[in-house]
């Protein structure tokens, strides 16, 4: 039964192969491939979720290929978030895939981009993780150099150096762990690492973390990564909050807490997160280009999630999950709306079209939720975060509260300013506008549903955080032992 878990990571690869081999007369079916694969994946995730939500950790391994899968509640949450949003974004990409000349390349790139993320989030051993990391890095590189013009080549080269450095750093860290423990499997590693000396642990951990950080939006790397991410094609730029932010966030949490078990490391996350938040939010506030503004905003939001994780309590961690979910939905909506604005013929006058009114309504809902208006889900997230901040000492509580309030107000101002562009202009003559509209409506409805079932979602996120605060060390491997050194 657990072999079933390999399907989510194998299906995209099969689809990639199929697309590569598709003859030209079947061209019109290629654009649906990504959506179909993602939908199948979410079905599989839903089927497996029954077992995982009971508290079991599902693992599966092919010893021959050294491929291993680990699915706990955290993994399920992140992979479901990525997959479900990837479906919606891929739906909005259908007209885009239809028009372009290199449609095969674009579909494959989209699939690979997703594959890398899903490999990372479901990986159960070092090899799986490394492959996923390399795949996602190369997908970003490929998307950068496919753009026409010299600028694409320039950014491509810049990313090549950065990507190589980050991959090498991560790989070095992983090799160091493997050399000292002789195990590949994450659960085994979690048990074995506790016997290692602290020096080796910290060194390898720092290597992995810095490898991840170089590509991420954390301070001071956000300026570099912003330049890369803003040059990505429109098709993939919508997936930045969904894929890049989510998987990086997942990796930091997974390595620091589940595998290395650095509970003492938690307060130090604050040192990373606070400058990240301040730097990125200020950049977003003063940025005039809306695309760049949204990218900075997503970095800032990931900083806020990390900030929530740095407060060692179940409430704070669960609020981190809620903020992540809300941010991803909101920013994806705004990215989609922004794409509409940049693509079509803009007019500032005239009666508003009915579809434009719908767009305004459904893009306002996630924004309002993210700012923290009750009774939307963002309110619960911010409420629990503030609440757990107050659990600390008195002076700290005041500083935290003022800090969080300022962030949320800043965020609210620039996000609503971005929303204000939608109010002022309206766009005509966009081919296949309803693909994007459908996605935006679905995201708005998702926010409403999440808010409606907020109590159970808060409980669920608490459950996840409880399990993952315990770490993977508490679990034992039921199946065969891991890799052979």
């Amino acid at each position: 039964m657990n072999r079933f878990l390999f399907l989510p990571i194998l299906l995209p690869l099969i689809a990639v192969l199929l697309i590569a081999m598709t003859p030209l007369r079947l061209k019109k079916y290629v654009k649906y491939s990504a959506t179909a694969v993602f939908s199948l994946n979410i079905l599989i995730l839903i089927i497996t979720s029954q077992n995982i939500l009971k508290g079991n950790v599902l693992t599966s391994e092919i010893p021959f290929l050294q491929v291993s899968i680990l699915m706990d509640k955290l993994g399920l949450f992140v992979s479901t978030l990525i997959t479900s949003l990837a479906i919606l974004v891929s739906v909005s990409d259908i007209p885009f895939l239809e028009n372009t000349t290199n449609f095969k390349f674009n579909s494959i790139n989209l699939l690979l981009f997703y594959t890398g993320a899903i490999w990372i989030t479901t990986s159960g051993n070092i090899i799986c993780f490394a492959i996923g990391f390399i795949v996602i890095t190369s997908a970003i590189y490929a998307s950068l150099i496919i753009n026409p013009g010299m600028r694409a080549i320039e950014t491509g080269f810049r990313y090549l150096s950065i990507g190589l450095i980050s991959v090498i750093l991560v790989l070095t860290g992983l090799i160091l762990i493997y050399k000292n423990t002789g195990s590949l499997n994450f659960i085994e590693l979690a048990n074995l690492l506790s016997s290692l000396s602290l020096k080796v642990k910290i060194f390898s951990f720092t290597l992995i973390l810095s490898g991840i950080f170089i590509q991420s939006g954390f301070f001071p790397f956000s300026v570099i990564s912003e330049e890369i991410h803003s040059n990505m094609p429109e098709m993939l730029i919508k997936l930045i909050p969904t894929v890049i932010i989510t998987y990086q966030f997942y990796l930091i949490i997974r390595f620091s807490l589940s595998i290395f078990d650095f509970k003492t490391f938690l307060p130090y996350l604050m040192i990373i997160s606070i400058p990240t938040i301040i730097f990125n939010e200020i950049h977003a506030f003063f940025e005039k280009d809306r695309k760049k503004m949204l990218i900075y905003s997503s970095y800032g939001a990931s900083g806020l999630c990390l900030f929530a994780f740095s407060i060692p309590s179940v409430e704070a961690v669960s609020s981190g999950f809620l903020i992540l979910m809300n941010t991803v939905i909101t920013l994806t909506t705004l990215f989609l709306a922004n794409n509409l604005l940049t693509n079509g013929n803009k007019t500032t006058s005239g009666r508003k079209n009915p579809y434009w009114k719908i767009l305004i309504l459904f893009s306002l809902l996630p924004v309002i939720s993210l700012i923290g208006f009750p009774p939307f889900i963002g309110f619960f997230a911010k409420f629990t975060l503030l609440f757990s901040a107050i659990a600390e000492s008195y002076a700290k509580a005041v500083i935290f509260a003022v800090f969080i309030t300022l962030i949320i107000i800043t965020q609210g101002i620039y996000l609503l300013r971005c929303f204000g562009r939608l109010l002022k202009t309206q766009v005509r003559n966009i081919k296949g506008i309803w693909y994007t509209m459908g996605t935006i409506i679905a995201l708005g409805i998702a926010i409403m549903l999440l808010s409606f079932f907020s109590t159970s979602i808060v409980d669920f996120s608490r459950n996840i955080s409880l399990q993952f605060i315990q770490g993977l060390k508490s679990m034992t491997l039921p199946s065969t032992p891991g890799g052979i050194p």
């Binding site: 309002i368 009750p374 409420f383 309030t405 609210g412 101002i413 609503l416 109010l423 002022k424």
Partner: protein, 588 residues
């Protein structure tokens, strides 16, 4: 489960939705729905007059119940809210909006949300409704300008986070959101926590009301809005703030040292606001800005009354609140139809009369609520010997009077867009004016209502009841105040109305009555027709005698008119000084 409170809550929401749908069919239907549902809302609230509390439990949110209930305090504020909502709807009758159906719907939704806030019996529900109000305000203001709306939201939303912090602190320590548990658990909390909570709420109130220094900035927000929205939002935010302040200081904390000190602080800042806003009011460019500053000043005055911690003070504060919403509603109703060009249209005479009565209400002449409230405030202050407050009140009132004079001048002499009196306008204006005048002359009913609120606040046992006419009797006994007020009123009328009448009326009357050769002016011809339709002979003889009088006045007055402003200022200053001296003498 008791759904009766819900029916009131749903009334404006249903009315708004129906008005929106009706607006798709015809304009009349829209206003029919809006006005009828808004009046129905007021009637429903009045029916709840004698019901103390009505608990309703709806569902779970964050592991806590949502509690609703109505008491005398929230009843009082709900009634004010309902009436200002109705006035706002009627004022919006003659306004032009880009989304007029949506605008009316949102106005009514705002009313519903604020009623929800007033009947909330736990602090989380309170916060939810407050955020709903902010959201609706944001949407409604987008019509003017998105940037403006965003600025407005960010100011008030930063205030809302202070409440969230307050909620969090008390939930952390008391593990409940409901007002009852906060009240019972409050004494056990540490002093620093209490002071912290009170400070947060006071800062929030300073933003909301707004008190000094926020009154310097917020006037420019409100001056951009449509009159109808201004009426609703000004009274809504201020009343919400005062309501929660009363609940916190008198109910949660009680008469402890913390609340005494914070009330004193509030009183001093209220008096500073009163003076500064009064000064700003007569320095503004437009009459709208002056009116808003006067509104802020009156808020300061009601805060002084609230901070005194006795029934006189609170009654005066409540009276100020009532009077404030009366004239803020009346002003756009009466000031708009008065037009320089259409000076003589017969119908507009109502508006003129009403406008001057409104100014009277605003300036606090005797036999108005404003006068009674000030009288009560000054008596209490005299008994206490609070000279600083007395000085602030007298000085602030003087500034206000000057501002009112300037407003009257601009309204009379400025060239406005010509418009006619419309039916709903006239009826509402008349109704409100009648209410204002009757309540000024026979304030027993209002005293009864306020007495209930006062008992609700429950700080110490009552010595004086206001159910009889005692206070009015007291007014008559101290004749000096009446003379002061009367002198102010006559001075006001003499220096503002007569010059206007002498300068403007006679020339046109002469044209009408053919004493002066007729000018080929189309509008004048129209007027002439209208005049001649009236049985003319008696009128002609009457008017010719009046005309002679006015002509003589006109010849006499230009000499004085240039110096009117200076004379008026000196006059008011002198009166202020005289009243100050009399107050001091009375105290001795």
């Amino acid at each position: 489960m008791n759904f009766s409170l819900f029916t009131i809550l749903i009334t404006p929401l249903a009315g708004g939705t129906l008005a929106y749908l009706g607006g798709k069919i015809s304009r009349k239907l829209k206003y029919l729905f809006a006005i009828s549902f808004a009046s129905f809302f007021i009637i429903e609230i009045i029916l709840y007059r004698n019901i103390r509390i009505d608990l309703l439990i709806r569902g779970k949110l964050l592991g806590s119940l949502l509690l609703f209930g109505i008491n005398d305090l929230s009843w009082f504020f709900s009634l004010i809210l309902g009436i200002s909502g109705l006035i706002a709807i009627i004022v919006s009758f003659n306004e032009e909006h880009s989304f007029s159906n949506m605008y009316l719907m949102l106005l009514m939704f705002l009313e519903g949300a604020s009623f929800g806030l007033l009947i909330a019996q736990d602090i989380l529900t309170f916060f939810i409704f407050f955020c709903t109000i902010l959201f609706l305000t944001y949407v409604i203001l987008v019509e003017i300008n998105h940037g403006f709306s965003l600025k407005f939201l960010s100011f008030y939303f930063s205030g809302a986070f202070l409440i969230l912090l307050f909620i969090m602190i008390f939930f952390k320590n008391l593990n409940s959101f409901s007002f009852v548990s906060i009240r019972t658990g409050m004494p056990a909390l540490s002093d620093s926590l209490k002071i912290f909570g009170i400070t947060i709420i006071i800062v929030w109130f300073f933003i909301l009301a707004p008190l000094f220094p926020f009154n310097l900035w917020f006037q420019r927000f409100y001056s951009k809005m449509h009159a109808s929205l201004k009426i609703l939002l000004l009274s809504l935010f201020k009343n919400i703030g005062i309501y929660f302040l009363i609940v916190l200081l008198y109910d949660f904390v009680g008469l402890k040292l913390e609340s005494v000190y914070s009330l004193r602080f509030l009183g001093i800042s209220g008096s500073i606001t009163f003076i500064i806003s009064g000064m700003l009011a007569f320095n503004q460019k437009t009459k709208e800005q002056s009116i808003i500053q006067i509104f802020f000043a009156e808020t300061g005055l009601s805060i002084i009354g609230l901070s005194l911690m006795d029934s006189y003070g609170i009654t005066s504060s409540m009276l100020t609140i009532i009077n404030q919403f009366i004239w803020i509603g009346l002003f756009p109703l009466t000031a708009k139809p008065i037009s320089y060009n259409f000076n003589l249209l017969k119908r507009l005479r109502f508006s003129k009369v009403m406008f001057f009565i409104t100014l009277g209400l605003l300036s606090g002449v005797p036999l108005t609520l404003q006068f009674i409230s000030r009288w009560l405030l000054l008596t209490t202050l005299l008994e206490r010997g609070q000279l600083f407050y007395i000085y602030c009140v007298v000085l602030g009132s003087a500034f206000e009077l000057i501002a009112i004079y300037r407003i009257a001048k601009t309204v009379i002499f400025e060239k406005q867009q010509a418009m006619k009196d419309s039916g709903p306008y006239l009826i509402t204006t008349l109704a409100i004016l009648l209410f204002a005048i009757i309540s000024g002359i026979f304030p027993q009913y209002i005293f009864g209502v306020i007495h209930k609120v006062d008992q609700m606040i429950n700080y110490y046992s009552f010595e004086i009841t206001f159910n009889n006419i005692a206070s009015l009797y007291a007014v008559q006994s101290k004749i000096i105040f009446i003379t002061t007020g009367a002198a102010l009123f006559t001075g006001f009328i003499f220096f503002t109305l007569i010059p206007w009448a002498a300068k403007k009326l006679p020339e046109k009357i002469l044209v009408k009555l053919s004493f002066i050769p007729n000018r080929t002016n189309r509008s004048l011809n129209l007027m002439k027709k209208e005049i001649y339709n009236v049985p003319a002979r008696k009128l002609r003889t009457f008017l010719s005698s009046l005309n002679k009088l006015l002509l003589s006045l006109e010849n006499a007055l230009p000499l004085i008119r240039n110096k009117i402003k200076i004379i008026l200022i000196y006059f008011i200053m002198a009166l202020a000084l005289i009243s100050l001296v009399t107050l001091i003498i009375l105290r001795i």
